[in-house]
């Protein structure tokens, strides 16, 4: 158990900067997910934490100790590798006992402790098996047990679930969560899968291009993304280009790709008429209903005058995606989507005219990649 501090951490490979002045604090006992697309430097960061890469500059602290220059065998961290890296010539039990053997624990005790840890990951009956005979999920459990056996201060997980199929992955996410609650060790989990991060994490650090974009609790990040990158990475949303028409006291009036002006109540410092914006309409914020034949709803939206919170469109596609149904709507030449759970879905069909409305408070507005009212603006 220990907290972790990374300060101004940088790793360069020749001309390539993999990690660029990264600062991150991880609390004792926290489960932090480093989330980012491939090549963003998240694995390199993890390997620097474990001592498998030497930082070009910057500091790594675990607990009160500066470990920047410590080799991996002197650090009390342990990594679960993406390929699991089980020793093929050793049995499952020997794999799990390996770290204890290197620590000089005598044979009787290390076998006993290895068996205990194998029980935790429900692999007790496979103690004498050859790792080559195990399935992916079982290998993953053994790799986890091998790392837990040395009771590390910090457990490092390098996308260990990415080679598992979807169902097993989701099951392991929950088990990993339970194991974390049981051992109270600090976990740093690297993943490119935002669902995994949201399922597992106490807090999420989103990385892009060698830098941390945002750190926070999952809910906080989802509700309050600082940048367009974070918003795009968190999941499917409708990003609509717009141009600032004027800044008003309550926010911004912008012309959108829908060929309609809308008003967004957002801080408007630093933007002026003519600036390009990107507005995120999250699919769950849309309220969609079929246009009443008497046109009653349209009159209602027209009551807002020239700033619109509802637009008229046409359903162009209906996609069944298993548990949900996704509807695509064309509004003024631009396509947006929203989803409904199977069972709750309305009887909307392709070609139906609909009215799409939203609460302007829910819209997220980005200028030059930064969220208005957050980040640097």
């Amino acid at each position: 158990m220990a907290s972790v501090t990374l300060a101004n951490l940088t790793k360069e490979y020749g001309d390539l900067t993999a990690v660029d002045g990264l600062d991150l604090d991880i609390d004792d006992g926290e489960l932090l997910c480093l989330l980012g697309p491939s090549g963003c430097g998240k694995s390199t960061t993890l390997r620097m934490l474990g001592g498998l890469e030497t930082p070009t500059s910057g500091e790594v602290h675990i607990g009160d100790e500066r470990v920047t220059d410590q080799p991996p065998y002197d650090r009390n961290t342990s990594m679960v590798f993406q390929s699991w890296a089980l020793f093929p010539q050793k049995t499952v039990l020997e794999n799990v006992a390996f770290g204890l053997k290197m620590d000089g624990v005598d044979e009787e005790e290390r076998v006993e402790r290895a068996r205990e840890v194998l029980e935790i990951v429900e692999m007790g009956e496979f103690a004498d098996a050859d790792p080559g005979d195990l399935s992916g999920g079982q290998k993953q459990r053994v790799a986890l047990a091998r790392s837990l056996a040395i009771e590390p201060d910090v457990l490092l997980l390098d996308e260990p679930l990415s080679n598992l199929d979807k169902r097993l992955r989701e099951q392991m996410q929950l088990e990993l969560r339970n194991i974390h609650d049981g051992v109270e060790t600090t976990f740093v989990h690297v993943t490119h899968d935002q669902n995994e991060a949201f399922t597992l994490a106490d807090s999420i650090a989103i990385m892009n291009d060698g830098e941390i974009e945002q750190v926070g609790e999952p809910r906080e990040i989802y509700d309050d993304p600082v940048s367009l990158f974070v918003e795009e990475f968190l999941g499917d949303t409708n990003l609509v280009d717009a141009t600032v028409e004027e800044t008003v006291e309550e926010g911004i009036v912008a012309t959108t790709e829908f060929d309609e002006q809308i008003q967004v109540p957002t801080p408007n410092d630093g933007v002026a008429a003519g600036d390009p914006l990107t507005i995120s309409f999250r699919p769950e914020e849309f309220d969609v209903s079929r246009v009443a034949t008497d046109g009653g709803q349209l009159t209602e939206s027209a009551a807002h005058g020239d700033v619109t919170t509802a637009l008229e469109g046409t359903i162009t596609d209906v996609l069944y995606r298993g548990s949900s149904v996704r509807f695509y709507i064309e509004i003024g030449g631009t396509s947006v989507f929203f989803e409904q759970s199977v069972g709750d879905e309305t009887d909307l069909e392709v070609g139906d005219p609909v009215v799409v409305s939203w609460d302007p408070e829910d819209l997220l507005v980005f200028s030059e990649g930064e969220r208005l009212g957050r980040g640097g603006t």
Binding site: L52, Y73, A85, M102, S147, I150
Partner: protein, 271 residues
């Protein structure tokens, strides 16, 4: 068009096979001659032999000179093989996963002894060893053969390590093993067959090497090829065929041993 192509393809196929067997026969013929003449009756090397006898084998096993040469060859072969394996394996390990300049420069430098003609190497070593006062022929020939065998071990290990999963090394270090223990507990068990094969190759190379051994021989220390050459100079006796037969057999045994090691590994994976 295709109808004409099929017989043509067959002809080409047959020609290829004939050529293949011809080359094989040309390569194998001297070995056959060696084996056959080692059993011949007359005391002067002729082919085909007029009669057969085991007398030359009896003479070989009765000759203190020849048995001494076998002992020298084996001792030098084992010494050179051990030294070349240690140097080649550790050298290759050192340049793995390293982006330092030395690591980039080492492979071509290691290759150098193979590119220098053995005559030049033998002569140079003879002068050098005399200069520094190294007069033990065993040591001298072992060093010369190590120089020759180390590049082979090095490059065999380069390809063995290229297939090694370096995450295993990382995992070992991560679990608290220092580099020497990682090598012993994690790397070595995974590359063992490669190391054995490299050592066998080094041994065979030392056993067969003639030119440097000729330069560095002494009255007491002569390897088998050197003694064969010396005795050939006085007479073309079938004894030379007996010795050559043994040399060929040893090499075949070495190859079989390597194959057995690889198969054992394969067998172990199947179980």
């Amino acid at each position: 068009m295709s109808e004409a192509d099929i017989p043509r393809e067959r002809v080409e196929d047959a020609l290829f096979r004939a050529g293949y067997w011809l080359v094989f026969a040309v390569l194998m013929l001297p070995i056959v001659v060696v084996f056959v003449t080692s059993f011949q009756q007359s005391s002067y090397l002729t082919f085909p032999p007029s009669g057969y006898t085991l007398e030359w084998y009896a003479q070989f096993f009765g000759s203190e000179e020849w048995l001494g040469a076998v002992r020298d060859s084996l001792a030098i072969g084992v010494g050179a093989s051990l030294l070349a394996t240690v140097l080649g394996v550790t050298g290759s390990l050192a340049v793995q996963r390293s982006d330092s300049r030395v690591a980039k420069l080492l492979p071509p430098v290691v290759l150098l002894p193979l590119l220098i003609p053995p005559v030049v190497l033998g002569l140079t070593l003879l002068i050098y060893f005399n200069r520094v006062g190294l007069t033990n022929s065993y040591v001298n020939i072992v060093v010369a053969h190590t120089l020759w065998a180390t590049p082979l071990v090095f490059f065999i290990m380069q390809s063995v390590f290229a297939r090694f999963d370096w995450n295993l090394r990382d995992a070992g270090m991560d679990l608290g093993a220092r580099p020497s223990r990682v090598f012993y507990h994690v790397i070595l068990p995974n590359v063992r067959s490669g190391v054995v094969i490299a050592a066998v190759v080094a041994f065979i190379v030392s056993l067969q090497e003639f030119i440097m051994a000729l330069f560095l021989k002494s009255f007491e220390v002569k390897t088998v090829p050197v003694l064969a050459w010396t005795s050939l100079q006085s007479s073309l006796s079938p004894m030379v065929s007996v010795v050559s037969a043994f040399l060929v057999l040893t090499s075949i045994l070495g190859v079989l041993l390597s194959a057995a090691v690889m198969n054992l590994e394969w067998l172990a994976e199947q179980l």
